[in-house]
């Protein structure tokens, strides 16, 4: 797709060029007509002046040249000429003509004639000629001519000036088109920035901050975000309802089986099957949850609040079991993750550490660029290195000596992964047991 900016600028340039061309041609034509008629009027004025002097000095024609004092007629071949022909054919000319003569006027012509012809210098000149009849009845021919060279030069100068002026206008037009497009597109750029920011923060976009034309789009984006949140929370609720609907009957079946077993009935296979069923359900619900997490945009969890809440719960547990739980948590950190999901990840990992530790659990939180790294270490037996992958991927129980489904690490890994994070296992360098490190992003995907 061609960008809006390119479209607007190209369309602007095409229209501007069209308008400028019409302007240039129209204006040039008008100005040329103006110049032409000015030239002709000037020529006619000169002709009138010469005619007046002819009338004044018809008796002493030699003085005509003296009377017409205009210096342009004095310089030889100046391009400005006059020529007067007495009724008897005697010709008087301006000194500028020298020995040259203007072509004879056509005797058949009546009134003032304007004609173009080749002048004495070889350039084109325009002449005005008229036969005037004096009071004494004598008929004189008065001719005035002016070189067209000046007119041509004027015309060229005019064209140049016009080109420069309109060129300037074109440049200004293009620059202002760019500025205008930039100004028009600014709300769209702002929207893009806002959407990006909203991705990193909670809440909706504010349509009031946008122009009338963009506001509906902002509303649509808000609706889309709302719908997305709705889908996520609905599917979670459905999963929770389903879980609830299945778990209570499962508990009843288990209790019946347990009491049958204590009565000596052979129900171990049924109990084993129920164990598998429970584990599968737990895993499936966790998966559903993780899939939901992927779609949950714009959710953030404040570590002070969330870890604080979890630690209150775990501290009392640790106290009951005589274990020490230490945490190093810098203030003000947050991660881009739904709070319930974050608590699920941390709850499972801390619970796991708590279950296996001898006496000590340590949690350290560090900020790393655009991620937060949370390391949970214990002084328990740890996991053999070749079993790390199995513990986080397959949800296998590695050791059945402690109660639990053995899914904790896998659930935590699934959920972290759904938010673009990860859980990795290693040997604890501080406590010697297992170290589970969670990487979670602090901002947009």
């Amino acid at each position: 797709m061609i960008s809006l900016r390119t479209r607007a600028v190209v369309a602007g340039i095409i229209w501007a060029s069209f308008a400028i061309l019409i302007g240039v041609f129209g204006l040039a034509r008008y100005l040329e007509n103006q110049t032409q008629s000015q030239f002709n009027e000037q020529l006619l004025d000169r002709h009138l002046l010469v005619a007046i002097e002819v009338a004044n000095y018809a008796d002493t024609p030699d003085r005509i040249a003296q009377a017409i004092a205009n210096p342009v007629y004095l310089r030889p071949m100046s391009g400005q000429y006059w020529q007067v022909t007495r009724p008897d054919g005697m010709v008087y000319v301006s000194p500028s003509l020298g020995d040259a003569r203007l072509p004879d006027a056509d005797p058949g012509n009546q009134g003032i004639q304007i004609v173009n012809f080749v002048g004495p210098r070889g350039d084109m000149v325009r002449g005005v000629e008229e036969r005037i009849t004096l009071e004494d009845g004598s008929v004189w021919t008065v001719q005035v001519a002016s070189s067209l060279l000046a007119l041509t030069e004027d015309r060229a100068r005019l064209r140049n000036n016009l080109a420069v002026a309109f060129g300037l206008i074109a440049v200004i037009g293009i620059i202002s088109a760019f500025l205008q497009v930039t100004a028009t597109l600014r709300p769209l750029n702002a929207l893009r920035r806002d959407v990006l920011t909203r991705w990193n923060t909670e809440g909706n976009l504010e349509p009031d901050g946008y122009p009338l034309e963009v506001a509906p789009l902002v509303n649509d984006i808000n609706t889309l975000i709302e719908r997305n949140r709705g889908i996520v929370s609905r599917s979670r609720r459905q999963a929770a309802d389903l879980a609830h609907a299945i778990k209570t009957p499962a508990a009843i079946v288990r209790n019946e089986l347990e009491s049958l077993r204590s009565g000596g009935q052979p129900v171990q296979r049924a109990i084993d099957a129920l164990d598998r069923l429970d584990a599968q359900l737990k895993r499936s619900f966790a998966r559903m949850r993780a899939d939901g997490g992927n779609a949950a945009v714009q959710t953030f969890t404040d570590l002070d609040t969330s870890l604080g809440r979890l630690l209150r719960a775990f501290r009392s547990m640790a106290q009951n079991e005589n274990k020490r739980l230490e945490i190093d948590l810098p203030k003000g950190l947050r991660v881009r993750m739904d709070q319930a999901d974050f608590e699920e990840v941390m709850g499972n990992l801390i619970d796991n550490a708590m279950k296996w530790s001898q006496s000590q659990i340590s949690i350290t939180v560090k900020k790393r660029d655009s991620a937060v790294e949370i390391k949970i270490q214990d002084d328990g037996p740890g996991i053999p290195e070749d079993a790390y992958e199995m513990a986080t991927l397959s949800g296998q129980r590695l050791d059945t000596s402690k109660p639990g489904t053995g899914l904790g690490l896998a659930i935590a890994a699934d959920l972290a992964h759904a938010y673009g994070g990860k859980v990795s296992l290693s040997v604890s360098d501080r406590l010697g047991g297992l170290a589970a490190t969670v990487h979670l992003k602090t901002s947009g995907l």
């Binding site: 879980a243 209570t248 737990k282 949850r289 709850g347």
Partner: protein, 220 residues
Amino acid sequence: MRILVAEDELVLAQQIKSVLSSEGRVVDLTHDGSEAQFLGETEPYDVIILDIGLPQRDGITILKSLRAKKVTTPVLILSARDGWSDRVDGLDAGADDYLTKPFHMPELSARVRAMIRRKSGQTDPVFRKESIVFDTRSNQVTVDGIPTSLTAQEVAVLSYLFHNAGRLVSRTELSEHIYEYDGDRDSNTIAVFVNRLRKKLGNELIETVRGRGYVIKTAA
């Protein structure tokens, strides 16, 4: 020890009741939230087992309102919601423990036992007073290492007095903790149970404070 089980699934509630009763607890059952809250506020339970998804009033609301009214009875939440967030919500609302469905009955028993023990400040599940040993896990009593057989009521009285060792317990208080809500409470039968216990365990263990009640004195 008297326990309130608030669970709307009748079969499950009955199962819990029968297991706890077999361990010498007295259990009141309720299936709706309003009644659970009323009983929790008015009856002196030793433990309350509270389902979150109760009709009328949910478990978390009941728990918050109990804690707001300074009811300090240990509460174990029983819930199908197994997320850590839900657990922390429950613990934050004032629960002492949280067990998710489906659960193993022995785990429920063990947790109830531990809650009762913690409330009395006891860490060891076994109580000892001179030659008498009372194991709360099996309700087994031995005198000089020889097992003694006790009836359920006798165990209930002994257990309550041991858990409140060092404190004078009135007959009324004792009857409140060994009889069900609608049980036939006759404080004279308490005297009968105490006499039987004395016959089986010797006269020194339980002391009578005339007109006021009974006490098992602590070693100190």
